[in-house]
Amino acid sequence: MILIHCPYCDEKRPEIEFAYAGQAHIARPVDPDSYSDEEWERFLFIRANPRGRHHERWRHSHGCGRFFNAVRDTVTDKFETTYKAGEPRK
């Protein structure tokens, strides 16, 4: 089983305590009324889907309950690092 370091609990915990929550660092529109259809499409549906290093959100759902960010390699499934929500992209 993969162990994931929760930046809030500050320890490695079993993968099944966690839930994946999509790509990280997608900013909500500051002024939604001004968004064109194309901008909405990009915000809602277009994701990076890289082969390799991926920034993603995870939630320690069966633990402290918090969302955090992680850098995971989509080829090896290895977690490079995890960090608290709100911290700059690593």
Binding site: M1, Y8, C9, D10, E11, R13, P14, I16, E17, H62, G63, C64, G65, R66
Partner: protein, 168 residues
Amino acid sequence: MSDALTRAEPVPSAPFVGDGISISLAAPMMRYSLRARQPQALETLLGVKVPKKIGAMEEGIACLGPDEWLLRAPIGSKIVGGAGLPVSLVDISERAICLVVEGPRSAEILNAGCPLDLDRFAVGRATRTIFETVEIVLLRLAEDRFHVEVWRSFAPWMWTALTTAAHH
């Protein structure tokens, strides 16, 4: 009116006793979910220190998350209101029941369904975690005594899972 009500528990009232293990239902208790951005606000309210480290437990208060604590206390304990303070107290006494898993095989039997490394889960720790697919709060009260807080509707399944593991 309340005299007419009888308490129905979801698991057998007689303990399960096996080789190196006993599993029993803990007495009913008061449970509160405490939420606060600033733990100091809770300390002002309760008049006691609350643990700041997630996974730590002091005086019946377990820190479950960065802004979340579980308070367990005997029935009849006085819990203050908290009006005016930036805190939330929710009575969740009857949401869960507590199973006491006790004996030298406790950790082994819990690990039948719980993926936590219990060798590194010291006495005095408490955390939300999972047993198979059922969410629990696991508290270690002694080297070979654990409390398993499980939601009432999952309790019959939990009882069967633990006692089945204990049979093996």
